[in-house]
Symmetry: C2
Subunit: 338 residues, 2 copies
DNA sequence: CTGAAAGCGCTAACAA
DNA sequence: TTGTTAGCGCTTTCAG
């Protein structure tokens, strides 16, 4: 049995209360007794039981992140930074991967309530509002991403895709592109719709054209980007630049382009979203929208803290800016071939 | 305040014990009372407090993984599978990223003891034995990787680099390569030494040659692979094939090769270790050693379970096989140019 | 400055 | 079949 405070109290010939005071640095203990107790704690490698402490205060000091796809480097970089931030703030991170499956999301939520975590960060938008209510009812604050709604105890982080897509389109326009394609995210997700609409709006405002067969859906993964690219290039007319909903999609598009004998960026330019470290590992390095993971993680934390202070208060909306990073997957538009 | 069993007991006009029985599916409750209680639980969305349960029987049902580099896709894939496995087995996963820093490892260990996790999986070998003892002393089982030692409560997973390197070297030999280079892991880590020694032994046994300047250290990251490759090719004589300590290193080597104007695999073959999904995203797709993440995760779990059963029992050694996956980064040896 | 005691939410004897 | 009760390890009044 791991040692308990009682045992060390007995050894020191004091009460558990005194031991507790020493551990918590209370000033009302003689330096002498304090020193004696501390040395015993050292000898026994005693570490207090956190669950008992929690049971006392009703806080677990654990936050949880519910993630759609841990294989996506963007999420893992985010998780890494978020974890670091939590540790700095004396909290722990519990992770739950949902594999894009709603059933696993539901299950994760239940587990988080069971664990009495102090907050839940959803890194995906694909969730029914009902699930969130169950958390808030249990006084667990929530922060969502691109959910486009707030509620008591529930904040939302909104990624500025409108601004980002405008930057990408502008960049492509300056390179002389006029015909653009777009490989979106998974059909049916709010975030997919916003990314696509942002792209379409930006293209329209820039006076660039696209057409039906050039706007396809993907799945936020490499194979979806690959398939999307092949679909776009299956017709007789092709765009000179393709924008994708995220970087994994762009990587797939890049691979398909190579297989189709297209040179990037000479024959076709490709631009992604969600900069990831790997973006400058693939060849050619990807032009992409960069979302600061640090800023994102900071917002997640702030939002959860805000909710913790008063769970009945309606959450805040955090705006997450994005910036284009130009690398080598975009270049001057080729002569139109059609 | 989240509802407690007492309140729902009061509402149902029964004792907390009965409520507890219903929740735990005890057969000794009238179907009638049981139904009434269940319906109240439903209405109030009551979820029992796990910390109290833990406090009762001394298990947190949480395992933790201590990871050197969450940015390494290999670890992330492993974490994802491990998390899935734990959830299936009614446990949760707490993660701690150490960024290869010993101080962060120490800190993580302390936190895990504080949390009274039921087991700790070290995904890196870089740790002092002392740290592990602190865990075992607190009755927390441990599993290490490539630590090459076991102790009470401490199992070890040994990756079969010897066999893997032999496969790689054999493959290169069949392609006609005779002069090999090697970019290792971080200087000073046991796992780096083993990978390098395995390579050297395999090369020697195959009768292939290497030389001092062709055996360099890296850091298990992309930049280390890049630097290592440049170092190897800075001399006047060059190997025709380079083996790396992991895939991130191989990706860096690939990038350096491209910058140096070397074609892969025409001018130089490159082979990695630790297959990761991204291995077939880079171009050319990497020839590499595949370590089954599923098998690895299963071993971690089994080892921890084994330790939980009897913490005083000396841990087991698990052997993790690896297999070469031939892709396109290796090819026939070019004519020797020296 | 220190101790006694209550209680956080739950489980598991032991009684009834 | 159900209730009573004693803790699990800790914090925190309230008394000394």
């Amino acid at each position: 049995m791991p040692t308990s405070m009682r045992e060390i109290a007995k050894m020191a010939g004091v009460s558990v209360a005194t031991v507790s005071r020493v551990i918590n640095g209370s000033p009302l203990v003689t330096e002498e007794t304090s020193a004696r107790i501390r040395s015993i704690i050292q000898d026994l490698h005693f570490v207090p039981n956190n669950s008992a402490i929690y049971l006392k205060h009703g806080k677990s000091q654990i936050y949880s992140a519910i993630i759609p796809d841990l294989n996506n480097p963007f999420f893992m970089e985010l998780v890494k930074i978020f974890e670091g931030l939590l540790v700095e703030n004396h909290r722990e991170l519990l992770i739950a991967n949902t594999d894009f499956r709603s059933s696993r999301t539901q299950d994760s939520i239940r587990r988080m309530i069971l664990r009495r975590v102090d907050g839940v960060a959803f890194l995906s938008s694909e969730l029914e509002t009902g699930s969130i209510e169950a958390l808030v009812r249990n006084r667990i604050p929530v922060v969502t991403t691109d959910h486009y709604r707030t509620a008591p105890g529930t904040s939302d982080i909104v990624v500025d895709f409108a601004g980002g897509m405008a930057q990408i389109v502008q960049h492509l326009k300056e390179l002389g592109h006029t015909h653009l394609g777009f490989i979106g995210g998974t059909e049916g997700l709010a975030t997919s719709r916003v990314r696509r609409d942002s792209f379409l709006t930006a293209a329209m405002q820039a006076g660039l054209t696209s057409r039906k067969g050039w706007i396809v859906s993907g799945n936020f993964k490499v194979d979806g980007g690959d398939a999307g690219m092949r679909s776009i290039f299956s017709g007789t007319q092709h765009p000179t630049a393709v924008v994708t909903a995220n970087n994994l999609t762009a990587i797939g598009a890049l691979r398909a382009a190579r297989d189709l004998g297209l040179h990037v960026p000479q024959d076709v330019s490709i631009a992604g979203c969600d900069d990831i470290e790997l973006a400058d590992i693939v060849h050619p390095p990807l032009t992409t929208l960069r979302i600061s993971r640090r800023q994102y993680a900071g917002m997640l934390f702030d939002a959860l803290q805000y909710g913790e202070q008063d769970i009945t208060r309606t959450g805040k909306v955090f705006n997450l800016p994005v910036n284009i990073v130009v690398r080598q997957s975009t270049g001057p538009a080729p002569r139109p071939r059609s």
